[in-house]
Symmetry: C3
Subunit: 214 residues, 3 copies
């Protein structure tokens, strides 16, 4: 007999990978702005933990995960040093970083939906909780780097999170076996994100040229 491991442990292991991945990719953004090592660590931790933190604060879900388990925080503070150590070969690893980032997006979205689901919030809020967990860390990173968040400008990033969350939350509400649901949603979300990057899928833009006030 062959069994899928319990979905919770899979999601747990994937979460560690996703935290490290988001902290490592944030370190690249820090390096582009020549931040010092402290700044690189802080930006890594804020990016990786920011989405889940914002979700928990908005839902009133205390204590926060990293307050209860400081090992999460330690991981995100140290992962950026892997990026620093690899700086010279990073340009050859672009694809690896894109995949890591996509894994972070999908895993965070699912774990955000999971937590909201356990709090019995309305269905739409389960999906929003997933999107906040998946996307808000990158928005914080871009704000701290003084950019208009990439999320608002380009690529299917929030949309991937939205669809991933929609499928996952629908599955939860149908009472699907959680191991299969987690695996299928993960594969769907990751494929969608990577295809969107590969084929440069985009949403229509709203371009308005009226004068600025103020």
């Amino acid at each position: 007999m062959w069994n899928l491991p319990p979905a919770d442990s899979v999601l747990h292991v994937l979460s560690w990978l996703a935290l490290a991945a988001q902290a490592m990719t944030a370190a690249l953004a820090a390096g582009r702005r020549s931040m010092d090592w402290m700044g690189v660590c802080l930006l890594g931790a804020i990016t990786a933990l920011g989405g889940g933190t914002l979700r928990d604060v908005l839902l009133g879900h205390y204590p926060l995960a990293w307050v209860e388990r400081p090992s999460y925080l330690l991981l995100t503070l140290l992962a950026p040093f892997v990026t620093i150590a690899m700086a010279r070969v990073v340009h050859r690893l672009t694809t690896a970083f894109l995949v890591l980032d996509a894994i972070g997006l999908v895993v965070f979205t699912m774990s955000g939906c999971n937590i909201a689901w356990q709090m019995n919030v309305p269905f739409g809020i389960v999906i929003v909780a997933g999107m906040i967990t998946g996307c808000a860390g990158g928005v914080l990173r871009d704000i701290l780097c003084n950019d208009v968040p990439l999320l608002f400008r380009a690529e299917l990033y929030a949309s991937v999170s939205l669809l991933t969350g929609l499928i996952y939350a629908t599955g939860l509400s149908l009472g699907l076996g959680s191991g299969v649901l987690t695996a299928l949603t993960f594969v769907f979300g990751l494929s969608f994100r990577l295809l969107a990057i590969r084929y440069k899928w985009n949403m229509p833009r709203f371009v308005f040229t009226g004068e600025e006030r103020g």
Copy 2:
């Protein structure tokens, strides 16, 4: 006999209008930065709901309004499409948008005061809660658009919120009939804001030219 409708329902209806108004004006800011449709929706929702959300988080007032009633969230996500649909005629509607925005400012300020009042916080904090509800959404919008918030630079915006809140909170503490109070404060706040725009009222500025550190 003629009666004013109950103040709470008036404030409730006005709140819907204000939410839509703030989301629609935020969409203009999104369009000036050529955001995609997802970005436009997200910026609309964050702008319209951001002030009330920040107030509730700071006061520990859970669950948040839009978590309990996702219809608020849906409204602010969809309202920006009205702006997108009207993009070609928006430049002829500048005044309408200014009035809508002013309604949002005044209504949000009153509803923020109302909620803080029911939580029995000190008088000054009632006013601050009104200001946060009225103004913080626009600050978030400007941060996400990578601008120095308009609030800090120009026009009587926070000041309108401050005075509106002061009058409304004073009325509440004097036990004034809430229907009359709501109506009078609304008229005062809206007139003050529109006069401030019309006659370009400004506060003195603090200009300091010392060198920057760092």
Copy 3:
């Protein structure tokens, strides 16, 4: 017999000084961007109270200090006017402002550790709570001024907070007499910060020149 005053009252008095100091230095940043008086006051209050507020929100420590005691808020709203009044002589007071800012950093760090300690969070989180209290206000100020936060780019600021918190939290966990502990940590932190400025101590930077995405 000569006694140190109780540590809590010392920390309390120092907190008032630190709040005023941070609000006054934030006013300089506001003046460099020609904000109006309302903006100067708001930026002062957000900078001075932002770190403690973020710590309390993240730890779920309600009610916030300034909600319970609006006098804190009033102080930070009014302190910027001291800076406005002194604008012409501020350039001669650069050192005084640096010392004030350093006092703010060290005192906020200690008081943040203190509050987290009383909430029985893990040791590492006590230190993080100190850092958030000491540093986050300045990060908010820089975001609102549309800068990449100084904290991430230059100088030993977060590092001073980290070491100060480490010493203070270690002392707390060893059960050291709190008066002596407060005094020693204060002297250490302040000296470290001022020496770091004086001798331009810096951390290594991470410079990465790979292309930007998006």
